[in-house]
Assembly symmetry: C2
Homo-oligomer: 381 residues x 2
């Protein structure tokens, strides 16, 4: 083991593989569940750690703090996966754009990328600038000690470009779309650099210990039909083509989530990835019919898709919504006796977007319990 | 003619009926075009009138000012329809919730509707409180003097409820969705009242002179699959069922636009209305195949759907995007000789959402010119 490349051979064996099996469309005894942004502000212990760290980036760049907050939700709930605590915008930060988060506000870049000069200055960053992320991955993987698998992630090339051009979040994407419509050559240049950077970044997370990776295309859904395929999907595909398929003898499933991408599910079904994330506007049964495949055949595992606002109802109502979501996907894949790894349609339960900071923590317990109990019951029928 | 019910018999005959014909799926010699929010802040003459009026509501409630700004874009561009200058939230304002607009910000209500007591206090408002809108409709119709048809409009029951419960715009719809998930009984009560109020409001606009009406379901797209049908679409249908089909001997087409509703196009295809509005995420050719119908058969006219941000590109690029949009819909309905009113698939060109206040006015001229010229060329092939 060297300082620059921590060994991953020493990781403890995995005790709970339902998430990874479901990603690979293998049967499980329950529907695995994790929640986007599960380590976050709705947890008082997270707010305590963030207060100690001083800022969001102080939290994300400190290995011990990042490890601590990643494990917090696992100590409360029997979740089936952990996800690296970080931000989707670390890559453009490493490109020198200067990421910061004012308390209670969204991300902001010190520099935005809106003209030929700014685009010419962009390059795939030295991955050493993202060492803090890879160190966190290895530290979290060790701390998990095999409890559940660890998911790494990045923003998609298009989503990173949205923030890089706008300089912050936006409600109309005026600047990034102006660049796209008026200077498609510059936009393609940004996206190609982003794709290669994201691929290197995710591969380094895999080498550091991530057991699955997810691409968050949070803003793909703001694009026009046609432009989504050209400016978002094609560059997500460019990332996927460069990713490691396995590491240390294990397959590394790749998840792609386009918020608002339900209309383009058929296109996404052709991506070279194992899992598609879906938001709550999508009918899970129809998505399964479109891209979920048949037993013994090819297809995508589906991840999602309950509205995070369901968690503001009472626990009885949350359980009813969970039942509705499980039923919408329908009976999950159950492997025939003697062929436990035969593939078929699988569902990974999640929210359709990140959990709200206002969520009562005990409502999350009700959701996780309902997913586990309800999905076990489904398998007994 | 009485003060309480201005006669509409005196209106000048219509000189340009391509918009109304296209709504009814009748052939036209070009694709009609108008733009959502075409009377608005991107026009310097609008900003001048608004400055005189002092506030947005000062503008909307003054018949002369509302007439003046409605006609401003028609004096610049050969648009095929006018749309009443007003706001989608006049109905809840008339319910006593106190609508206001701070400069540069979105709408805000003095009171929000979040509990049983507030819901119990809601009722269909006395339409006399909206007299300023009906007076504006009649005044605009007179001022148009038959140049182009006048469209009336309202927010949809669900979209009104979003603002009524949130008290303003929102980025997560937490309060309205909490009410929906936790107290569906209260949400249904709000929506039933809204639907009946919107129907009365649109019928009064029709009686005052509106020649078509549009329901803006601006926030239908934030709902989960299943909830959209239950909490938005069903109440839009309740509005449509109560609307006048004709007035003063003319049919009154009804347009429904759900932003982000592309996934539910088949459901919307069953609405009792003539036209469906589409945003830019929808493929016009696929939408036409799904709900546009065949020559001589039933179906919906389609309205949309270019990304308003296209208007930030240069005029040559705008023209290319217009061509792409026209081609995406494909060859429009052309009636056989001897049967000019035979129905078939038609397209009404529009943006997929309201025009941005930052739009250069001469770019709008380029778009309108490209629609008219390109769609005339298409009909010659």
């Amino acid at each position: 083991m060297t300082a620059s490349s921590p060994s991953t051979g020493a990781f403890a064996p995995l005790q709970s593989d339902s998430f990874l099996r479901a990603c690979l469309r293998q049967a499980t005894d329950h529907t695995p569940v994790w929640l986007m942004r599960q380590a976050g502000r709705y947890l008082p212990e997270y707010r305590d750690t963030r207060a100690k760290a001083g800022s969001f980036m102080g939290l994300a760049t400190n290995t011990d703090y990042a490890t601590e907050v990643t494990l917090q939700p696992l100590d409360r709930y029997p979740l089936d996966a952990a996800i690296l605590f970080s931000d989707i915008l670390t890559v453009p930060d490493a490109m020198g754009l200067g990421l910061s988060f004012a308390l209670g506000e969204g991300p902001k870049f010190a520099k935005s990328v809106r003209d030929e000069t700014a685009v010419a200055a962009l390059a795939v960053p030295d991955m050493d600038k993202l060492r803090y992320v890879f160190d966190a991955v290895t530290s979290i993987r060790r701390a998990l000690n095999g409890r559940v698998p660890l998911i790494g992630f990045s923003g998609s090339p298009w989503t990173l470009a949205c923030y890089m051009v706008e300089g912050a979040g936006s409600d109309d994407y005026r600047h990034v779309k102006t660049l796209m419509y008026a200077r498609p050559d510059l936009m393609h240049r940004i996206l190609a650099i982003n794709a290669d950077a994201v691929a290197a970044y995710l591969n380094a997370q895999i080498e550091a210990g991530a057991q699955a990776v997810m691409v968050f295309d949070s803003w793909g859904g703001v694009l026009a039909d046609g432009n989504f395929q050209t400016f978002s999907l094609a560059y997500t595909a460019r990332v996927l083509a460069q990713l490691r398929r396995e590491h240390a003898g294990a397959r590394i499933p790749r998840i792609v989530f386009t918020k608002g991408g339900g209309l383009w599910l058929d296109d996404m079904g052709r991506l070279d990835c194992e899992v598609l994330g879906l938001d709550w506007t999508v009918n899970l049964g129809r998505a399964r019919a479109a891209v979920g495949g048949q037993a013994g055949g090819p297809g995508k595992a589906l991840q999602g898709n309950i509205d995070p606002n369901v968690l503001f109802a009472d626990p009885r109502q949350i359980a009813a919504e969970v039942e509705r979501t499980l039923a919408s996907f329908g009976a999950p894949h159950q492997a025939p006796a003697g062929d436990p790894d035969q593939v078929g349609p699988t569902h990974i339960f999640n929210l359709g977007h990140g959990i709200s900071q206002h969520t009562p923590p005990d409502h999350v317990a009700a959701l996780v319990e309902a997913v586990h109990a309800g999905s076990r019951r489904m398998r007994q029928h």
